[in-house]
């Protein structure tokens, strides 16, 4: 079922271009946004139940997802854990909840994983998409004083105080400033953060910071260590 030459654990660095906002990712918006596809009648005249989406060559089915998850390496599992905690930012989800939601969406076929996309990239993007929806929902609720809280999904996702959009904005600006301040005295790291926030990658980023790849890798490692230490469950702002 799971196969067709698709490696479960691609070599390091092979996710480049697969992760990012919609415009930068290898996944289409439809794939990222997901949503339950129009499942047609699920039982035929002979009473056979077909509750699973039909397996097609283009997407991994439920069994394929499960097999791929079982064969995830320890390295990738640790990465999922670390990435989940970055992606949690601005939600009231606890560590573990976001990954659980993303895995359920993938297994149930609510979000479809194209075979050509590495599973890791797909799960990461699904987590980010779910977190983004949680954040947007929180902001909407905040904007109208919490009156539009949807009942779908049984329980409210956010229980915090109602936020003023302007206050959210100021907090976001403060967060950007705080991230820069975290690297006070490390000019290279500050330039990398500035380059990242401008959307620079690869050569463009190297040129912007004015260092070679080795020095850039080292600066990025410092940033990762500092950020995951300072914001163990992602920064709080939207």
């Amino acid at each position: 079922m799971f196969g067709s030459g698709r490696a479960t654990d691609p070599p390091r660095g092979s996710y480049a271009g697969q992760i990012g906002r919609f415009g930068q990712t290898g996944l289409s918006e439809t794939v990222i946004i997901g949503g339950i596809d129009g499942r047609t009648p699920v039982m035929n005249q002979t009473g056979q139940i077909r509750s699973e989406p039909a397996a097609s060559g283009e997407f991994l089915d439920s069994e394929g997802i499960s097999e791929a998850l079982d064969s995830l390496s320890a390295e990738n599992r640790l990465k999922l854990r670390e990435i989940e905690r970055v992606a949690l930012r601005g939600t009231d989800l606890s560590p573990g909840d976001l990954l659980h939601e993303a895995l359920c969406a993938a297994i149930m076929g609510d979000r479809k994983c194209p075979r050509r996309v590495p599973l890791m990239a797909f799960i990461v993007q699904t987590m980010r998409s779910i977190a983004s929806h949680h954040r947007e929902k929180h902001l909407r609720e905040s904007a109208d004083g919490g009156t539009s809280q949807e009942t779908q999904g049984a329980q409210p996702m956010f229980s915090g105080a109602v936020l003023d959009p302007e206050q959210v904005l100021i907090e976001s600006e403060n967060t950007v400033a705080a991230i820069h301040d975290s690297f006070d005295g490390d000019e290279q790291a500050q330039l990398v953060i500035l380059g990242w926030s401008e959307g620079y990658r690869g050569k463009e980023l190297r040129d912007f910071v004015g260092v070679d790849q080795t020095a850039l890798d080292y600066a990025i490692k410092r940033i990762r260590r500092t950020m995951t230490k300072r914001y163990p469950n992602g920064w709080k702002n939207k």
Binding site: A16, G20, I49, E75, R77, L78, I83, W196, R201, R224
Partner: protein, 144 residues
């Protein structure tokens, strides 16, 4: 003014998140373990936790699939009942049409009834049911 400020700040945070995630994806297992230990965390405990999350997701999905299948079965059964009722109504109309358009059949049924050999209401109901079944089988055969 506020809109562009909002977009810029949010975009900046999104891009920083993008890059941070890419950096994690590009790290080795040894690096990640080292960083976790440096933060006072136990990587092996996290591996166990991830295993539990995967198993929990599979169990939750199995339950959801079972609930979905049960719901679909109920829907299908309800649909079947409605279909049978409609089939019978259509067959009755068809039978009445045949009887009214076939004077010979109508007179023979009347004659038989006078002799006490006519079809009872139950016989007629049985005929209608047979007709409905035949038409359903015809439809199914035609659909294949």
């Amino acid at each position: 003014m506020t809109g562009s400020r909002k977009n810029t700040t949010r975009e900046q945070l999104d891009r920083i998140e993008d890059s941070l995630i890419e950096s994690i994806l590009g790290a080795s297992e040894a690096e990640l373990r080292e960083e976790m230990i440096e933060r006072g965390e136990d990587p092996d405990r996290f591996l166990l936790r991830i295993e539990q999350i995967i198993a929990g997701a599979k169990t939750a999905c199995s339950k959801r699939r079972m609930e979905r299948a049960k719901f679909e079965l109920q829907e299908w059964r309800a649909g079947q009942t409605r279909t049978l009722k409609l089939d019978r109504e259509a067959a009755r109309a068809r039978f009445e049409k045949i009887r009214s358009h076939d004077p010979d059949l109508a007179s023979r049924m009347l004659l038989a009834a006078r002799k006490g050999e006519g079809l009872s209401e139950r016989d007629i109901e049985g005929l209608i049911e047979d007709l409905a079944k035949l038409e359903r089988l015809d439809d199914e055969a035609g659909g294949e």
